[in-house]
Symmetry: C2
Subunit: 209 residues, 2 copies
């Protein structure tokens, strides 16, 4: 199995999961961003030139959350970190994976872009902060009543969101792009992330470079 | 079964699929955008206040592509419009669903927003056009060699992309936000969309109001 990736929020997801599952694989890490991701050999695997891409036998699979699901179905047969299709909670797992890849990644992408280009457009900047705040409110409200995103255990839904959260905060901590008053507004997110860090192997996986 | 939705690209996906599957359900259509989607009763079902949401028995499921997958698994048992988990093509179906909900929806959202606010920022506008162009290039290159997105039949991956494409073009046709020279640059996308329109019931489903 070969994983093409980078040390971003999306890029680290499969790296973490393969580490938790204790699966051996080959890792090709791109610097990020890197023109190499737009080279022809890689575009054959991932035509938009994005990371990550997993190659497992005949399967070439882009999309970080599709990869998590594939690894869950194929290599997490005892469902240590996932729910199977036969369990109704599978659909909540799906729902949070999609929410992570849409609203959360969209907010994250805007934050990092606007920070990078020092965008001054007040309307767009305010809109970005509103979305960013709302996503964390949705997380916080859910986590006020649930220890984990789905059911009674840490799953790939938590993994996916935690990987994005960790990356985002590594980029914005101490800058003007930090959400004001985060600890008071979103205490359940912080508590949940502390619980994520207690999952055996998770912290180690954040140190893979 | 109850579907909360609106007549947008994401909102129409489940409407089309339920029509193709000939399933009876209750449809609550919001105008779009609508402050009603931010009312407390609806936020209990969909905490970000987005459409669509499917309620089927005990299951409350937001996220348009998660809903397509749920309907495929639950009501398309003969896999007329989908591939089952046991088939390796299931993962290509997943991959295109995620690509639709990330890169394509992200481009679509920017186009419609920038058009709405008449954004003048040259960097952001060019970046949006580049992404929009690249997504259609990815589609076109794939469709140059494949009649459908996955395998040898129309699936929920085609449905999802076609619904977004139809909505986008209904909003931008004849405006400055149309991609220049589309028919010459992306002929395979146009041919594919013609094929989609031949799927029995698809055109009818585009007329549901």
């Amino acid at each position: 199995m070969q994983l093409y990736s980078a040390l971003t929020g999306n890029g680290r997801k499969a790296i973490i999961y393969l580490h938790l599952l204790n699966i051996k694989y080959d890792l090709k890490l791109f610097p990020f961003p890197s023109p190499e991701m737009k080279e022809e050999w890689y575009l054959k695997l991932n035509p938009h030139g994005l990371i990550p891409t997993l190659v497992d036998g005949d399967l070439v699979l882009p999309e970080s959350n599709a990869i998590l699901q594939y690894l869950a179905d194929t290599y997490d047969k005892e469902n240590k970190y996932s729910y199977p299709h036969s369990d109704i909670r599978y659909w909540s797992q799906q729902r949070w994976l999609y929410y992570q890849s849409t609203q959360f990644c969209d907010a994250l992408g805007k934050i990092l872009l606007y920070k990078h280009i020092k965008l001054q457009d007040e309307f767009l900047v305010n809109r970005m902060f509103d979305q960013y705040d709302l996503v964390y409110k949705v997380f916080n409200d859910h986590l006020a009543e649930n220890k984990w995103f789905v059911g009674d255990k840490f799953t790939i839904a938590d993994l996916s969101i935690a990987s994005g959260h960790y990356f985002l905060w590594s980029q914005i901590k101490g800058t003007d792009y930090e959400l004001k008053d985060f600890a008071n507004k979103f205490p359940h997110v912080l508590k949940w992330f502390d619980n994520v860090l207690q999952i055996e192997g998770f912290k180690e996986a954040l140190e893979i470079k």
